[in-house]
């Protein structure tokens, strides 16, 4: 069977400017940050990003790589407002398709199920309809005759997700309390790339957690990357919690200074060493 393991830079080598890119996780939780950092080391730009937004959105927006964001929010959770998302919006440099959280979820379901849309009781009456004039409604064909928003499928060229464990074939497992929507992201994408804390033998997966923890199956995965601490500084329970001190540093340091110190290296290894050096300085 196909060994799908690759490096973060090999994943990025398969992406192109102008693509629509889905990013898994939620807010500042289990984001595929190592893959996002690899993207920042490339020249890829002009992206349409689909995300329950966190620092993935902030980093890419700060670096000027995002043309359009499709999201219901961008937050760092413990820091309510994502600072670089905020700056990009207030500076007028980021086009936004602002959906409600449930609309967004049904858009993922529609894409994963190869449907053009799914109906949802959300959005009607709100300004989501005003700022997205392309949205249409649909009337129930049954006796109730109710009207709903027809959320268009959130189909994407590529998806990036981060899970706790994976095998070389692309089967991936979450061990924390929430799957978020990572399986849907993979199924909604033409190609999906899974980074994981630890690459294990297939036989290990069923031993590490219950059957329902096997969230992502290999048929929906193109590439697998082992990136220990790869969700840093977002949370990746139970392997590690969010690095609140570092997130605070990220949120309060001017972007050029943060990028120069932590993101100017040649690879993920340089980022992780720069973080360790900073952590040692704080002791």
């Amino acid at each position: 069977m196909t060994d799908k393991t690759m490096t973060p830079d090999e994943v990025v080598g398969r992406l192109r400017s102008g693509m629509t890119l889905g990013i898994g996780g939620w807010g500042s939780r289990r984001k595929p940050m190592a893959l996002v950092r690899a993207l920042l080391r490339s020249e890829i730009t002009d992206l349409t990003v689909i995300s329950y937004g966190g620092p993935d959105v902030g980093l890419l927006a700060a670096a000027g790589r995002v043309r359009r964001l499709i999201a219901p929010f961008a937050t760092l959770d413990s820091v309510p407002l994502e600072p670089h998302f905020r700056a990009a919006r207030e500076g007028g440099s980021l086009a936004l398709t602002e959906y409600d959280e449930a609309m967004f979820m049904w858009g993922l379901h529609a894409a994963a199920n190869r449907l053009p849309f799914l109906p949802v009781r959300a959005g009607l009456g709100s300004d989501v309809m005003r700022v997205n004039p392309e949205l249409r409604t649909v009337t129930s064909p049954y006796a109730d005759g109710e009207e709903f928003v027809a959320v268009p499928a959130l189909r994407m060229d590529a998806a990036l997700v981060h899970l706790n464990r994976a095998d070389r074939l692309g089967n991936a497992q979450y061990l924390g309390p929430d799957p978020y929507f990572d399986d849907l992201f993979c199924e909604a994408a033409d190609s999906a790339y899974v980074s994981c804390e630890q690459l294990v033998e297939s036989a290990e997966l069923a031993k590490s957690g219950p059957p329902q923890s096997l969230l992502v199956s290999r048929h929906s995965v193109t590439g697998v990357v082992e990136t220990p601490n790869g969700a840093h500084f977002t949370s990746c329970a139970p392997d590690y919690e969010r690095d609140e001190a570092f997130q605070k540093l990220y949120a309060t340091t001017p972007w050029p200074e943060f990028a120069a110190r932590f993101l100017s290296g040649a690879g993920e290894h340089d980022y992780q060493s720069a973080v360790r050096t900073w952590q040692e300085e704080q002791r």
Partner: protein, 242 residues
């Protein structure tokens, strides 16, 4: 002497009275204390989360699993009563947490609409405002995130079918939408607050009855629970002073 913050905890708790077996989703410290007070006293069947993906009892005992995908289904199933914040709210309960100014290029980007559109069309939504001011209680909100009564009605039967905004609690008083045309009405002022003070801090005309009562006094047991069990560190006084 009951503090203002304690009246606020109590007024938030009252939002969940009579709700039965539904998820109480409080946003922010004082609504969280209120939900816990309600569950410890008059609404014992309420469900609570740990803020992540688990349903938990008052002592933290896990009793269920509620990841975001199931949480969003619970919203559309209606078995939930959320108390959200509001950066802006108008007389019909239209709420904004998305951005201030022109949406195309906001002067202040806030959270985004988050789940406010789906919440308001599907399960009861109450609001909590820790600093009542004309900047929050406005004539028109800049980006309608949570849908108010006028817009739900205008959007048609499927928008208004499950739409309900039970109450708004601020640091000054308690409000509902039983004024003319489902407009905001002052239900009670917290002791130490005058009706004039509320009017001055509100950017639109408020409906009021002939006499506006005070928010009810907590019982001795409710006060003990707030002070000794629910919020022994006094975090409530950081959110609302005085």
């Amino acid at each position: 002497m009951t503090s203002r913050a304690e009246y606020c905890v109590l007024a938030c708790a009252e939002a969940w009275r009579g709700d039965g077996e539904v998820l109480a989703s409080p946003m922010g410290p004082i609504p969280s204390f209120g939900a816990r007070l309600a569950k410890r006293t008059f609404s014992p069947d309420l469900l609570l989360t740990d803020g992540e993906a688990m349903l938990v009892g008052l002592d933290g005992t896990v009793e269920g699993w509620l990841p975001y995908r199931r949480h969003l289904t619970m919203v559309t199933g209606g078995r939930r009563h959320v108390m959200m914040g509001a950066s802006q709210i108008d007389r019909y309960g239209n709420q904004n947490i998305s951005c201030i100014g022109d949406w195309e290029r906001p002067s202040r980007q806030l959270l985004g609409v988050r789940g406010a559109p789906v919440n308001t069309l599907n399960n009861p939504v109450s609001y909590w405002v820790p600093r009542h001011s004309p900047r929050v209680f406005v004539e028109r909100v800049d980006m309608v995130s949570g849908v108010g009564y006028d817009r739900a009605a205008a959007a048609g039967p499927s928008a208004s079918r499950f739409h309900r905004l039970p109450r708004v609690v601020s640091d000054l008083g308690v409000f509902d939408f039983t004024g003319p045309g489902h407009s905001m009405r002052l239900v009670s002022v917290h002791p130490g607050v005058t009706v004039e003070q509320v009017r001055a801090a509100t950017g639109f005309e408020l409906a009021t009855g002939e006499e506006v009562p005070y928010t009810r006094e907590p019982t001795a047991e409710e006060l003990r629970l707030i002070r000794e069990v629910i919020d022994p560190k006094g975090l409530r006084d950081r959110e609302v002073r005085g």
